[in-house]
């Protein structure tokens, strides 16, 4: 066994417990009783990796997490804030384009040279800017860390943003947008965003042909120069490297990065007033299945109800054996799988539930969702077993977040990009365990708003509309793939 200094597990102690408490049956001659569920020793104690946090001279946060079991290093340069905060409504796609343009050449390297250099190092540097955050990141063998970081720095600070590359990216994006209109899940997500948040809220804006065509090179140059700033940056180095040399290498690489930039205020406009429950039906002629996307705006990540919501959702539609999946998939066989979840943004991220349902059971599955939404609100009380499993599965799955260098980097950096307490992981089990059954019911009543739920269904209108209507659950508004109401002739 190789020496491990990674602090995820305490040296030897849990092993000792295992060896002492588990029955060793090889010596016992008695007949095996297969009906007896094996006894289980004490759960392993969670060991959260330790990390150091310092600031670079330019103000960026630097976090280093050591993990020495394999010669790998993950480097994440995260930016707090994204398209929802900085993208003009008429130029949706600008943030995403800017991320892609970082791979299109620098003052001293062509795009091909950048790509070849990464391939020779066995790595790939990915830059992307999403809704509320951006990242430039790579994972490499540890002896390739420094040269890979030099490439990343060049991309961030010296990109030339050639016009020809913009046109190519635009052309490829337009093809992808066309293909998305054939993809029932993509249609469901884009209609859900529009119906739920409206055009005025950043969460309701969906990139389209017009906004993509409006983006200019000048927009990209200006977005890049104001966005990639240390004042909103969290740098995380995770893996086979010590904090001292990591800091020296990162300081050296980013010496030319001038200070500036700040985090966004997250002050979004209000979400639209809740609408009475309605089915928004997008026609997909002859579709074999109906795609469901049901939901409403939800609480932000900062909600004090985070833990009750997490446990409640796990039981409702988070686990494989959740109420929704157990009933609609396992018992009834209507789907390959259904689930529910909370997006937990910095703003009012959505609660959403759904899945793909065989067309002939679209109505029955809708009734099933209704039953379970009402169920967690009190009609079907939570059982002790459900609560126990919901909690245990959340708590005991935490170690898997620290199995890889990428996972570790993402877990630790999320504390700083999401403004969580630094003891978030250490306190996690206590916070989950403190949740009561009453908390779960209260969270379900408050955050699963069945009366105002937007029910987006993408499927074969000719066969599913009448049965949906017959359920009496909600009026039906036909929609097109762009999320606009279809006027019935």
């Amino acid at each position: 066994m190789s020496p491990r200094t990674f602090s995820l597990r305490a040296p030897a102690a849990p092993l000792l417990v295992l060896a002492l408490t588990l029955p060793v049956s090889a010596s016992s001659a008695q007949k095996l009783d297969r009906n007896k569920e094996p006894a289980v020793s004490k759960s392993p104690t969670l060991h959260v990796p330790k990390w150091t946090k310092t600031k670079l001279a330019n103000g960026a946060d630097l976090i280093v997490v050591e993990k020495h079991d394999l010669p790998l290093v993950a480097f994440n340069l995260d930016f707090v804030g994204g398209a929802a905060n900085y993208e003009p409504a008429g130029k949706l796609g600008l943030a995403q384009f800017t991320g892609q343009m970082l791979s299109e050449g620098t003052k001293t390297r062509t795009a091909d040279q950048l790509s070849d250099a990464q391939q020779l190092l066995g790595t790939s540097i990915n830059a992307s800017v999403g809704q509320e955050g951006g990242t430039i990141r790579f994972t490499s063998l540890s002896d390739k860390f420094e040269p890979a970081l030099a490439l990343l720095t060049d991309m961030m600070l010296n990109s030339t943003f050639p016009d020809s590359a913009l046109e190519r990216i635009r052309g490829r994006t337009l093809v992808a947008l066309t293909q998305q209109k054939d993809q029932p899940n993509s249609i469901a997500q884009s209609v859900f965003a529009k119906v739920t948040y409206g055009d005025a809220h950043p969460y309701g804006r969906v990139v389209n042909e017009n906004t993509v065509k409006a983006i200019t090179r000048a927009d990209i140059v200006s977005f890049a120069s104001s966005y990639f700033k240390p004042g909103r940056a969290v740098i995380t180095v995770s893996g086979d490297i010590d904090p001292k040399s990591a800091k020296a290498i990162v300081e050296r690489a980013l010496a030319a990065w001038p200070q500036g930039g700040e985090r966004p205020s997250w002050a979004y406009g209000p979400v639209p007033a809740p609408k009475t429950r309605e089915i928004y039906l997008v026609d997909k002629p002859k579709a074999a299945q109906s795609v469901f996307a049901f939901g409403t705006p939800g609480p932000s990540r900062g909600t004090p109800d985070y833990y009750p919501i997490a446990v409640m959702n796990h039981i409702l539609g988070g686990l494989f054996q959740s109420r929704l999946n157990h009933d609609i998939r396992e018992v009834k066989g209507y789907s390959y799988g259904v689930r529910s979840g909370f997006a937990f943004g910095h703003g009012p991220g959505a609660f959403q539930a759904g899945g793909s349902i065989v067309s002939a059971k679209t109505d029955s599955a809708l009734i099933g969702f209704q039953t379970h939404f009402k169920g967690v609100q009190g009609a079907m009380p939570f059982t002790d077993n459900e609560v126990k499993q919901g909690k245990e599965s959340l708590i005991q799955s935490l170690p898997s977040r620290f199995a890889s260098v990428n996972g570790t980097a993402a877990a630790i950096s999320s504390i700083y990009t999401q403004d969580l307490p630094e003891t978030f992981f250490q306190d996690y089990a206590n916070n989950i365990n403190a949740v009561t059954k009453d908390d779960l019911t209260r969270a379900a009543k408050q955050y699963i708003d069945w009366d105002h739920m937007n029910l987006i269904i993408v499927g074969d209108r000719a066969t599913i509309e009448a049965p949906l209507k017959a359920t009496g659950i909600a009026p039906i508004q036909p929609m097109d793939v762009e999320g606009k109401p279809v006027v019935v002739p």
């Binding site: 066994m1 490499s140 799988g337 065989v358 799955s397």
Partner: protein, 472 residues
């Protein structure tokens, strides 16, 4: 192609092995030991105490190739039945003792093997082995027709979700349909044809189980936070009294012979057409699969890969291009597919793809192209070692298909030794004139197919059973 029991993400067994000369001695090493029970069950033990979790990864040497024409999709459907409870483990217990305690579980089926795994907190290793032994030995004791029928519906929905209701979802099925004669076990999809799925019965489950689900047809990799002596004791306790199975006659899969290029057109609910090429190559049992893997890296992927650079960047006639060598146990095929930019026909894309391939066959790869491909494979290999399941899959693949859990080391040495001349040789040997060309085109637009005049229209049989050449 690989299908999973559950919709949630499960790691793909990217069974790559790669050169590595990293600074750490253990970088491409998976310390393990093996044991074999008298009933033939092979156990691979690979301790790794990085996180307090342990993975149990069970492989049975049976897949869709063991099915019959007209009864396709059964091996995968059987995999689902294995999650409905067994003699001493009631339905529900499996999920309760895996995800209910912070772990995960899943299963997957491909053409050649079926896999079941649990990743659990380390104090649940014994539970996981208890449950795996029970479904290996006593599945039929609790077989419930209602649950079986529900799983059959779920699998049909899996097919709808991943194939029928997906744009381009039938493309790989059409490639295999074009490549292999109907009697070849690699000709049908792992998920099976819709009409065949309905034919599966409880009696089929019984006979399939008796034939293939015996300890003598299985290997188990235990990877993660455990003590080998303890794990061996558990294995003897729970698997020791299971009976060995009868000898299995395995189908011989001959590589297909394409005497000419076959062109197929399929109309799909898409707006953008797409072009698929496929050539007959070799399976995992042939050493040419190594240079073919490197060939795929050099042809498509990063922006300076040959086809990507030519089609996506220089000519900008394609929105994307993908290439891979699909190596099953005993036959394989190389696939390239291209999505056009507007105003570029599939016919013109076929011609420009061919011009890149012709030049590559003449020149072979550069030294730098070899270096880049190998660097990527090396990183990918080390990266996969971060996952207990990833390691279990590497070890099981060696044990099941090469009779040696440590096979990855030999494969790694071979990949490291692949030369530019090898890659040039396989490009010439396999990526020749005879191939299958599948055009996926929008409904009622067969004229958009590549060389439409010589392309044959394919439709789905009215019962959803299989594909039919020619007119409706």
């Amino acid at each position: 192609m690989q299908l999973h029991r559950a919709f949630r993400f499960a790691a793909f067994a990217a069974l790559i092995a790669a050169p590595a000369h990293a600074q750490k001695g253990n970088a491409v090493n998976i310390p393990f030991e093996t044991m074999r029970l008298p009933n033939g069950l092979e156990i691979i033990l690979a301790p790794d105490h990085t996180v307090p979790q342990v993975t149990v990864d069970v492989w049975y040497h049976v897949g869709s190739k063991n099915e019959m024409t007209g009864r396709t999709g059964f091996a995968h459907m059987f995999e689902h039945v294995m999650f409905t409870g067994s003699g001493h483990v009631p339905y529900g217990t499996h999920d309760r003792l895996t995800e209910g305690v912070g772990g995960t579980n899943n299963g997957s089926t491909n053409n050649d093997r079926t896999q079941y795994w649990e990743n659990v907190p380390s104090n649940y290793l014994e539970s996981a082995l208890w449950m795996e032994s029970d479904r290996m030995g006593f599945l039929l004791d609790s077989l419930d027709e209602k649950k079986f029928l529900a799983q059959r519906d779920i699998v049909k929905n899996e097919r709808r979700q991943s194939v029928d209701n997906q744009p381009y979802g039938r493309a790989y099925e059409l490639v295999d349909f074009g490549l292999y004669p109907e009697t070849n076990p690699y000709s049908w999809p792992v998920v099976g044809y819709m009409a065949d799925l309905d034919k599966a019965t409880v009696d089929d489950v019984k006979s399939f189980f008796r034939l293939y689900y015996a300890p003598s047809n299985a290997t188990i990799a235990i990877v993660g936070d455990f003590e080998p002596a303890q794990a061996k004791a558990f294995v003897r306790k729970y698997f020791g009294d299971l009976k060995a199975g009868a000898k299995i006659t395995r189908p011989t899969v001959r590589p297909p012979v394409l005497s000419a290029t076959k062109r197929l057109t399929f109309e799909d609910r898409v707006q953008v057409p797409r072009l698929y090429f496929s050539w007959v190559t070799v399976g995992d049992d042939n050493e040419d699969s190594d240079p073919l893997q490197i060939l795929a890296q050099i042809l498509a992927g990063p922006r300076t890969a040959r086809l990507t650079k030519a089609l996506v960047y220089d000519r900008q006639s394609a929105a994307s291009v993908t290439a891979f060598n699909n190596d099953n146990e005993s036959a394989g095929n190389f696939v390239i597919f291209v999505t056009p930019r507007p105003n570029n026909t599939l016919t013109s894309l076929e011609a420009s793809t061919d011009s890149v391939l012709t030049r590559f066959r003449d020149d072979g790869p550069t030294a730098e192209e070899m270096q880049k491909a190998k660097a990527g494979l090396e990183f990918g290999f080390v990266s996969q070692l971060q996952s207990n399941l990833g390691k279990g899959e590497i070890l099981n693949d060696g044990a099941v298909f090469h009779g040696d859990a440590g096979y990855y080391k030999k494969q790694y040495a071979r990949l490291k030794a692949v030369t530019a001349a090898d890659v040039k040789r396989v490009a010439n040997k396999y990526l020749g004139a005879n191939r299958v060309v599948v055009s996926i085109v929008p409904l009622n637009k067969p004229e958009l197919a590549s060389r439409a005049e010589s392309s044959t229209k394919v439709t789905v049989a009215p019962d959803g059973g299989h594909y039919i050449m020619g007119n409706k």
